[in-house]
């Protein structure tokens, strides 16, 4: 049919099918700021303004939009300086998003901005609640919404002309001791402080002279993302590109007796149909890890057996998605159903069916497919039995944590094509481009050198893209058809055929002296890896390695901790688990911190003092470093910096711990919940929620946590720095910025070394043809490992700059020259600009290309530490729990960029909040997923968020040139147990099975 669409004020005559959505058509017109998030409209990533109102372009037909005015992000601002052509620049909303640190992956940013524009067009002076309501139709998995809300308020002020708009993004603390009490954080320094909390940084003295490191710089990729530029994997047009779809298994466990693809192949528009009979039989692991993969090889691109509902049966490539979908229905498969194991507790039973009986299976360490064991861990540190014998009290408990989904708003997506040199190009949304290249080479029967992997911007990953999950599908189809292929997961595929967090059943046993000294600590884990063993060993190993390392005991026990960690990681006929931000550690801290709370209360000890008494100190060995190293040889590590006590002090002050904990009056003083409604005509008003105050109690809880920073002696990152004619630099890193801001913080460190502003560093990541190797974005390693590599590269370049500057300045000794403000400055005060040096070296005298390369592998994994606090309200009649406030005080070493780092904490706490109260992946008795969309699998929206507060307590980690430790994963660890402990504090019941749902609390309260 022919329709005319008015997009951004221009009429477009279009021929489209009646079934085509506005999303499809508008992207075909080149408006790539409209993104795919899901089919039902829950993400809102596909937001356009239709007659000024935000709607989901993917949830309406293109034909419906005829006669209406459509606005996309491309109608707003653009880069102000386009050579000889100047523009009006970015829209104030776009500028505010850039300057407020509101952009992480940037995938949902255009949608948030459009939604906010609708509000500001009508209401120039909105409240925070009105802003939250306005952007509530757009899900964000990165930011926790705090900075986007700040950005909208800031833009509103600018648009109103409230000049000057005072704004300091950070609440700096240069050594003042924390004030105690709830009023401590009420120190407004600008006009937004009363509304929104800014991250606080307690600055370490070493950092105060730096020019770029430690500063809230704007993200280097923010300007393109805020314009909705075609920066993501799917934002590419290739002539003749086919669409891939996968036929997924309807059975949890079955052999494929036969497949007939003739009808599917005969369908016009189908280019290829592939089954297991068409592909070489190469066994591999999809876990995106360094070589050798520390886990069993148990996976094929396609197999003659399916092991979970959602497993692969066949691949189709067709001219359109609809044809490909139709072709899937025409593939005739005869299955021989087999008994299925759906409960991990059944996996190792003697009569359990064997899930992996393929002869090609390759064991790793103690995997035992005959018993459905993907990995086994037995770690004894010290003498746990002796420690238990010496205890005055033994505490035991059973806990469980559920399977949960990463829910990156951009799903898994890749594009494959042959280039003109007959090399296979894989443009993919991955955290591990170099692993993709290495691991796919044997699967595709191509040498590594004939594969090029391009990682464009990534719309969130959270570990889900530390997996070579689906690139092989598109690659096989490109090999089969010789044509470009795009394969993009549907949201349902994300739930049934992607990876997830390992669900675990955990048993704890702790020996304690009367004075609260822990004498021995034991954790036993039954971990469910699902149908394949990707990350099975390493995730579960980290459960113990990080969560069981924090509490070493006190006194003599501190010198020789007694710790036991035993784990069995078993196969079941459910979708495979894998990497998810935190990598096994959140699973460990739920039982550890719930258990510690119970012990403290049972012994009538202060829960915080009890924890600190037993927590690890600086100068002590990481207890697990003497016993375990992800299946490799252990190498002892000393922990140099532990800011835990300062974190506790800061966090207690921020949440007002001392005035609330143990204060019965505070626990009873719960105002009725407000529920807000926004009206175009009447603004926002509150309506009393019917819950009577007498039915609610407040509670406060804490959890202390530690994580790791990279994998020692293994994780390697590389970088190169090249000087340009104008004194700017190209920084090429293999590191993978998945929205975290790693490109920015690495560039900040390089800029600091080279004495230039951040804008002079042109950062590119990552492309296996151009950028140095980096193992990828995982294990909280990028700032530490890749950053150190980039510093080395910058130092190499800086040395040559100084040598050349010394010659130009007539100095004898180059080492005394310092680089600052784009100048090379001699001790005498004479200086020469970097631009002059660049022109001299490239064009005039003794010409050379000044550049540096660097790589870094660390001998240690310095842990970040944190104190997580939570405040809740519990409805004692219904069990409903509302989390009112989360405060996290973090020791992540030096903070390179407080904006990006606090964004990590805020977003991480928000993900962890879902883990605490609502996120859960469940299966029926046939292995069918109950949660298949973002209606049933709820993630937090902007208009239901608790107050978030982030505090950085800086320490200077001596193993890194800028003193940094990790920040990315630790916010996942403490929220759930802190909320669980707050519920206990509120109503006196223990919920040991996560998530904390209303019925669980109700049952506990009723004693059921």
């Amino acid at each position: 049919m022919n329709i005319t669409l008015s997009v951004n004020g221009t009429e477009h005559a279009i021929e489209c099918a009646p079934s085509e959505t506005l999303f499809t058509v508008i992207r075909r017109l080149g408006f790539y700021g409209v993104k795919f998030g899901d089919e039902q409209g829950w993400t809102g990533a596909d937001t356009v303004l239709l007659d000024g109102k935000p709607v989901n372009a993917g949830s309406m037909l293109a034909a419906q939009a005829e006669g209406h005015n459509i606005v996309t992000i491309e109608a707003l601002g653009e880069h102000p300086d386009q050579g000889w052509k100047k523009t009006e620049g970015l829209h104030p909303l776009q500028r505010a998003f850039v300057e407020s640190g509101a952009i992480q992956c940037g995938y949902c940013t255009p949608a948030q901005i459009l939604a906010a524009k609708t509000l500001l067009d009508k209401n120039p002076n909105p409240s925070e609640d009105e802003v939250r309501e306005a952007i509530s139709g757009v899900l964000c998995r990165c930011t926790g919404y705090l900075k986007p809300v700040q950005a909208v308020l800031r833009a509103a002020a600018i648009l109103r002309g409230d000049e000057p708009v005072s704004w300091d993004a950070v609440n700096w603390d240069f050594g003042k001791p924390p004030e105690v009490g709830p009023e401590a954080n009420e120190s407004p320094s600008d006009q937004f402080a009363s509304l929104l909390t800014k991250p606080k940084v307690v600055v370490t003295p070493q950092t105060q002279a730096w020019q770029v490191v430690g500063k809230p710089e704007k993200k280097v990729d923010a300007v393109k993302l805020v314009q909705g530029k075609p920066a993501f994997a799917a934002d590419i047009e290739k002539r003749g590109m086919l669409v891939a779809k996968v036929l997924h298994s309807p059975h949890a466990h079955a052999r494929i007796k036969s497949i007939d693809t003739s009808k599917a192949k005969a369908l016009p528009g189908v280019a290829a149909v592939l089954t297991w009979q068409d592909l070489p039989r190469v066994v591999w692991s999809t876990a995106g890890q360094s070589d050798p993969i520390p886990g069993p090889l148990d996976t094929f691109s396609l197999d003659n057996k399916v092991r979970f509902v959602g497993d692969r049966v066949a691949f189709v490539a067709a001219e359109t998605a609809e044809i490909a979908e139709k072709a899937l229905t025409l593939i005739e498969v005869e299955y021989e159903p087999l008994p299925a194991i759906l409960d991990s507790a059944d996996a190792m039973k003697p009569d359990a069916i064997r899930i992996h009986d393929e002869p090609e299976y390759v064991n790793f360490a103690d995997s035992d497919p005959a018993r459905n064991v993907a990995a086994k861990i037995r770690i004894d540190i010290g003498n746990p039995d002796k420690g238990f014998a010496e205890a005055d009290h033994i505490f035991e408990g059973e806990y469980s944590v559920p399977k949960v989904q990463q829910v990156s708003i951009e799903p898994h997506v890749c594009v494959t094509y042959w280039d003109e040199d007959d090399r296979l190009v894989i443009r993919t949304s991955t955290q591990v481009p170099f692993h993709v290249r290495r691991m796919l080479a044997p699967v595709l029967n191509l040498p590594v050198k004939r594969i090029r992997v391009i990682k464009p911007r990534i719309g969130g990953g959270f570990g889900g893209k530390q997996e070579v999950l689906m690139e092989d599908v598109a690659a096989h189809l490109t090999i089969a058809t010789k044509r470009p292929v795009i394969y993009e997961y549907t949201r349902e595929e994300e739930f049934i055929a992607a990876r997830s967090r390992h669900p675990m059943k955990i048993w704890m046993k702790t020996g304690v002296k009367k004075d609260g000294t822990i004498t021995a600590n034991e954790m036993r884990v039954l971990s469910d890896t699902g149908a394949y063993g990707c990350h099975a060993l390493t995730v579960t190993g980290n459960t113990g390695h990080k969560a069981m390392a924090l509490y070493v005991g006190d006194g003599e026990y501190r010198k020789q901790p007694n710790i036991r960690f035993y784990a069995d990681v078993v196969y079941t006929n459910t979708p495979p688990a894998g990497a998810f931000r935190g990598y096994g550690v959140p699973q460990g801290y739920w039982p550890v911190e719930r258990h510690m709370e119970k012990i403290a209360r049972a012994l009538n000890l202060d829960p915080i003092e009890f924890r600190l008494k037993n927590a690890i100190h600086p100068g002590e060995y990481h207890p697990f470093s003497t016993a375990w190293n992800e299946g490799r040889e252990p190498r002892p590590e000393i922990i140099h910096t532990v800011g835990l006590e300062q974190c506790v002090a800061q966090g207690k002050a921020a949440i007002g711990w001392d005035s609330k904990y143990g204060n019965e009056e505070w626990h009873r003083n719960v105002p009725s919940t407000k529920f807000q409604v926004t009206s175009e005509k009447h603004g926002t008003w509150n309506m009393e929620h019917g819950t009577p105050s007498s039915a609610k109690r407040k509670g406060i809880g804490v959890a202390l946590v530690m994580q790791g920073t990279a994998i020692p002696y293994l994780d390697m990152g590389g970088a190169s720095v090249k000087m340009n004619d104008d004194g700017s630099f190209n920084l090429l890193v293999g590191a993978t910025d998945l929205g975290t801001g790693s490109d920015t913080v690495i560039a900040q460190m390089v800029a600091e070394v080279l004495g230039v502003p951040l804008e002079d560093i042109i950062t590119y990541s990552s492309d296996t043809d151009f950028t140095p190797f980096d193992k990828g974005a995982y294990a909280s390693s990028t700032t530490y490992i890749s950053g150190a590599a980039a510093v080395r590269a910058a130092e190499m370049a800086a040395e040559r700059i100084k040598v050349r500057a010394a010659k130009m300045l007539g100095e004898v000794e180059y080492s005394n020259i310092r680089l600052s403000n784009r100048q090379a400055i001699a001790p005498s005060g004479k200086s020469v600009s970097l631009a002059e040096i660049a022109l001299d070296t490239l064009h005039k005298n003794e010409q050379e290309q000044i550049m540096g390369i660097g790589s870094y592998v660390s001998p240690s994994s310095p842990p970040p530490f944190a104190a997580q606090f939570a405040e809740v309200s519990v409805d004692v009649e219904t069990g409903a729990v509302t989390v009112d406030k989360l405060v996290m005080a973090v020791d992540s070493g030096v903070i390179v960029n407080p904006l990006t780092a606090s964004g990590q904490i805020e977003g991480g706490m928000t993900q962890a909040l879902g883990y605490a109260v609502c996120e859960e992946m469940r299966y029926d008795d046939k292995g069918n997923a109950i949660e298949r969309d973002l209606d049933r699998y709820h993630i937090f929206r902007a208009d239901e968020m608790p107050e978030l507060e982030t505090i950085f307590v800086e320490t200077f980690e001596p193993s890194h040139p800028f003193g940094v430790k990790a920040v990315a994963e630790i916010p996942m660890d403490g929220v759930a147990p802190a909320v669980g402990n707050a519920v206990l504090d509120a109503v006196g019941v223990n919920i040991d099975d996560n998530p904390i749902t209303p019925e669980k609390i109700w049952r506990a309260l009723k004693g059921k």
Binding site: M1, A17, P18, S19, T21, E39, Q40, G41, W42, G44, T47, L50, K53, P54, V55, N56, S59, M60, L61, A63, Q64, E66, E133, S136, G137, V138, E322, F675, V677, T678, S679, E680, K681, H682, M687, E688, G690, T691, P692, D875, E877, T878, G879, V917, C918, R922, I930, D935, R936, H938, F940, R941, D943, E944, T997, P998, E999, W1002, R1003, K1008
Partner: protein
């Protein structure tokens, strides 16, 4: 798959098109636009002028293509129904989804339909002959026919309560209560099954301390409605207990 799209300009034209086999009315498109294996034609109602909210005496007539957000923002919409609408879907979906489409496609977790059911909403359905159907009668079978408007009373007091995992999540249990000046009281419950359920429609003496079944009866009705309401979200035992609590809170709200 949608094979044809129509945008009629008159109701008669729409009804003629809808008389064709496998042809369905299209409201906001939030559901029908999704890929489907069935070949269907759609009739877009946007040009029919059914997007008005009108007060008529003690009634509020809501056009079929009024969006959820349009109704939420109307000063004529009862407050309790506004709360229910806000929980029905996020803003972007509320901006597109129509009231009639939401009714047609609802399941038991629909807070909006739960609220309408308590208010004893009437549906005007245009077919070969126009008819007025009680929402409660419509929901079990959802017969074909074009809903053109929904009418709710304005001279009633209403309340709405829910329990969910998070403040904006779909409800595990929700309860809507409406009370007419005469004492007639309707209680609807949701969060379970294929549609919200009517738990009670009877006379309750609204005066303080008045005779009649009062709170106990309302609570018992809420409890009874969830007698076998067990699913993946909650047990029947939990729903029964919480529904009674929420019903009592609604009643207390009305008294306040």
């Amino acid at each position: 798959m949608i094979t044809a799209y129509h945008r009629p300009q008159t109701l008669d034209e729409a009804l003629t098109l809808l008389a064709r086999p496998n042809t369905f009315p299209l409201g906001g498109g939030t559901l029908l636009s999704h890929p489907s294996a069935d070949s269907v034609q759609v009739v877009d109602l946007q040009a029919l002028g059914l997007n008005q909210i009108k007060k008529s005496g003690n009634s509020l007539e809501i056009g079929a293509t009024v969006t959820l957000q349009q109704l939420l923002e109307s000063e004529l919409c009862p407050d309790a129904l506004k709360r229910a609408i806000k929980l029905e879907a996020p803003l972007n979906i509320r901006n597109a989804a129509t009231v009639a489409g939401t009714i047609v496609a609802c399941d038991g977790r629909s807070t909006f339909v739960c609220g309408l059911l308590a208010l004893d909403a009437k549906l005007a359905i245009a077919n070969r002959k126009s008819e007025i159907v009680n929402l409660g009668d419509y929901l079990p079978l959802r017969p074909r026919g074009l809903i053109t408007s929904i009418t709710i009373p304005m001279n009633v007091k209403s309340a709405f309560e829910y329990v969910a995992r998070t403040p904006a999540d779909k409800p595990i249990v929700c309860v809507a209560l409406a009370q007419w000046p005469s004492g007639r009281t309707r209680l609807a419950v949701g969060g379970y099954g294929k549609a919200p359920m009517l738990a009670m429609d009877g006379d309750v003496d609204p005066s303080p301390g008045g005779r009649g079944i009062q709170g106990e009866g309302v609570e018992a009705a809420a409890r009874n409605a969830f007698h076998e309401a067990k699913d993946e979200w909650a047990s029947a035992e939990y729903r029964q207990d919480v529904a009674a609590t929420l019903a009592k809170r609604c009643l207390d709200n009305l008294k306040a």
